[in-house]
Symmetry: C3
Subunit: 440 residues, 3 copies
């Protein structure tokens, strides 16, 4: 574990027991840089001969490389949105949720990636592949609830997409993708999604431009932190993406539109900036209300424990003295409702304690604009944290029905019903798979 020269360094695998997590993290960064470099070489070549915008497509829940780094070399980020396939193979939904959303997809998963990839190329983004029907690669491959191909497209536009491309045009009658639906059937007749795509095209004329308002809240997504906790999870189910996504879902359930941002964000531009699970908390993450933790600033850039213990966050007088990873059957209840799941930290603090465990220990603290959450909140826990902050932040929280989602743009308010039945809320009724927009 001590090296005299760079030549002594091997790949961080095939070690006697486990490799050094700092070594693994370094390798993950190197690998990401290689991907970014490979893309850059191609972009540079293309730009010698063309000034047309360069687009490339990303996927769902992929943390193998830094999409902000790569997206900086593109003109337009795009991604492949397969709501039903992803529900069954990567969202992590339980069986009840998989049954309920089987033909619609998870109500937050697409929106999260729309908001994430909107940020990776300075605001320009597309959906490069939109699922039009059953595909061939998920464990099971049902067909969308009628209306969902339209809803998915409108949701993308509401989040700022310039273009939504359905994949594929025609279902190929041969080879690996012959069971992957298209807008046309293998016999060249219209498949069900074609009429929905046509309907969206007609409706776009009616709502030609919706803009992309700055959302009231920001949520930091940091690929480097994903590498770090994959290198050293400490609990079998500690997953950085899931932690950020849980926060995102809580914000959406409260009716809030969200900007997903890199950790270089300026918090003064938002009413609240959420930054759960950041490996390190940069000095620049100040100047507005910030909610950090758990695990935020708990390590150095090289994945070691900082001198004086974490969280290494300026202004906080709080130390994490030990942490516990918690199995699914052992949540820790919070005083007044909600719980921490998967992860909790024991802290020593002279900051203001704003949340406690049922047994009394501090669970969240605050000093001026910086809030620190010493654990992984469940849905009720996130809701309580939001409620504590909204008055000061000047935010209105809704309590949306489970299947309903809202997205606000410069000009409009869009409502989406991800449920298989109609939903009524504040006098509005949306049918199953319904979309509704109203001018602001």
């Amino acid at each position: 574990m001590e090296y005299d020269s760079f030549d002594q360094l091997d790949l961080p695998n095939q070690t006697v027991t486990e490799p050094n997590p700092s070594h693994v993290l370094a390798f993950r960064r190197f690998s990401s840089d290689q991907v970014v470099m490979f893309n850059r070489v191609q972009c540079d070549e293309i730009r010698k001969y063309s000034d047309r915008p360069i687009i490339h497509n990303f996927m769902g829940r992929i943390t193998a490389f830094d999409h902000f780094d790569l997206g900086a070399d593109l003109d337009i980020s795009s991604w492949d949105s397969y709501p039903m396939g992803f529900l069954l193979d990567r969202v992590g939904a339980d069986e009840t949720a998989q049954a309920h959303y089987l033909r619609q997809g998870d109500p937050d998963f697409q929106a999260f990636h729309h908001d994430l990839y909107r940020a990776t190329s300075a605001g320009r983004w597309w959906v490069m592949e939109q699922q039009p029907g059953p595909v061939n690669w998920a464990p099971w491959n049902p067909a969308p609830l009628p209306g969902m191909p339209r809803l998915w497209a409108w949701e993308a536009f509401a989040h700022g997409a310039e273009t939504v491309c359905y994949f594929r045009w025609r279902q190929a009658p041969f080879a690996q993708e012959q069971m992957h639906a298209g807008l046309l059937r293998p016999d060249r007749s219209p498949a069900p999604a074609l009429a929905e795509a046509a309907q969206v095209a007609a409706e776009l004329a009616e709502v030609p431009y919706v803009g992309t308002a700055t959302a009231p809240v920001a949520l930091v997504f940091d690929y480097d932190s994903a590498y770090a906790w994959e290198s050293q999870p400490q609990g079998a189910d500690f997953d950085y993406f899931q932690l950020v996504f849980d926060c995102y879902r809580a914000l959406r359930r409260a009716g809030l539109s969200v900007d997903v941002v890199p950790k270089s964000v300026d918090p003064s531009a938002y009413k609240i900036t959420f930054a759960p699970g950041l490996l390190t908390v940069p000095e620049s993450l100040r100047g507005g209300l910030v909610v950090a933790g758990p695990r935020a600033g708990s390590k150095t850039e090289e994945l070691t424990i900082p001198e004086g213990l974490g969280p290494d966050i300026t202004d906080l007088s709080t130390k994490v003295t030990f942490v516990e990873s918690l199995p699914p059957f052992a949540p820790m209840a919070l005083d007044g409702g909600g719980a921490f799941i998967k992860w909790r930290e024991a802290i020593e603090t002279t900051d203001t304690v704003i949340l406690r465990f049922e047994k009394g220990a501090p669970a969240a603290v605050r000093n001026a604009q910086m809030i620190y959450i010493a654990g992984w909140p469940d849905a009720a826990g996130w809701r309580r944290i939001l409620e504590m902050l909204t008055e000061q932040a000047g935010l209105d929280l809704m309590d949306l029905p489970p299947d309903l989602r809202l997205r606000e743009t410069d000009s409009h308010r869009f409502w989406f019903n991800y449920g298989p039945r109609s939903v009524t809320f504040h006098g509005m009724t949306l049918p199953a798979a319904g979309v509704l927009w109203e001018s602001k």
Copy 2:
């Protein structure tokens, strides 16, 4: 994926993503042919020097090669019947069924293979290895309920076996099979099954020949279709053997004797011919009442989608426009009872709709003698399909108690109680593990 010469073809593995399913299917056919050829070379050599019948033994639920092709070179097909071992390692029974049938085996699994292997060598077949007691290779190895070694033997004879051999004669006191029961214990004393074997031998004198009546219904088993759907399952639990076996169980629960047949069968010889899951439906599969589907004729011989969509079945005016594979928690209810599980097809049709989903879409159609089932029926679904057809087919359906089974031969009617408790039906009472025969 485009080849200029045969030399460019590799094995269908180690591809960047998945191999072309048509390539996998071709490889499966090639592999089967190799097995068949290897057997043929040996048969040809033996026949130069002997006119004694050639026998070889098959196993349970093996679709690695075409047993009809191989059986054509044998004089007698045989198989190794391990009812209790198979219950725990390959039947696919749930825990409730495993507990109930723990010491008896599945009530249909043996019969299915008896009926299958009776067909693979033109009617001559044996049980080469009959489980006499606990074996050494299943996850757990209980002992048979007293009476079952007799029942298993009689069941084989009722299905036309010429011979039932128990394996093994004596339990070896050494090596891998030392925990595999025989008719003798390791100390050469009689093991429990010996008396049952002797009883069967004595009883055979009483019922010397039972014949093998042609059954009223035929059920097609097609190894080529098994290869096809293993190459392209489209749903994680789509298994061709299971689909055919579900149909077989439904027929048996209705008291019907069944001939398992290759797809070259002449349907005019049967009151109904069932052909679920056939890759392609041959022209010859006409001339009698045929129940095809799901997935029947949905592909070409080379596993591509046929021009004009499937099912490619003469006389039907039905097209499958898309399919859905369904997770275990998402069955689709049929109007009037029963459901489709695992698989359902959306169809356009001008044939007569004879069954609908609860929500109205057509679930089965008919044109003259050809019925098409657009999904994978559960037990209640199969029962409903049978009930719709029996009057016209001139069949009497029974509703047997869950543990009771019936097999009709030329001369006798055999009843088997696979349950751990006695069963009374139509005035008959069979004890646990009981066998009863009556002349017709």
Copy 3:
């Protein structure tokens, strides 16, 4: 499988189906001997230059080599005790038990290994690594209930430990073990366990020497038998360690202190000697009350079935005619309460039947001082066997509350509360994680 010379012998792997279990057993013995030899070479070298005691540390639930053989070359055996990590990764506890004992560890697992490793070097033993807080390697890593680091240390002393070392002194701020708690935090401040270690050190002055009384009952642990049943389990969950540990837990629930011993033990030194699952039962295992079985003496030293069938135990007139391994959902009830799980034997016997199955077959027999149990008892089954024997053996059985444990030494009686809540028993009240001692 027949060899003309030793040179023909390969490793027992990569065989066409499974290797010969006798071959596997021979390889396991060879492997153990290699480990023992490797240690011996080092001990011999050290002893040329030093007369200081030689210690080496073992782990929990490891049957890879014979610890009695290796321990014979050490002066002091020691082991690494991680009660919370082991609860989640190797005890085999169900989810309810994992939740209940999450921050305390299994109430018998540490004691078992204390009693085992006390025997491997003629009575001298240490805890080389005692878990002081959350570690980094279990699936989840919670923190101990306050008081447990003290309880664990006192439990070790009560079982005869000369020394308890906590691992580690300071939590390292870098590399693989940076999340492994120490007595000091990474910032060199005291971690919670330090005060508990200091308390134990102060209390030791109060109870300076407790001695190691010979326990009233002995329990044989035999690594050779572990190899044998790993080579030929016959049931998916037949695990020799688990069988012995189940017996140990039953004895502890009855308030008995236990000596874990090799099979060379002299039974006349104990009121009862338990020897479940012994591959072979030596002639020397006579002269006191012995409880053998299941599977005891069922094989020869070379893992074949003995002439005349097992159990090959002098004085017993009992033969096992066949065995059944039982899945978790199929226990076999005993007449009067309790059941056999996982394993039961059918026996022919002229010995006295002392326990029967609910359906009448003999389940345990006795001839003079030798008792044979023809199955794997569940907790209630072990309790019934104990109750049948204690009057004659002159033992008093307690029925301890589930979380309470007792250990008797030469001079003291120690009580331990492994539960998360206080326990009252016979007028004593122990708080959660409480330890109580009283002079005898």
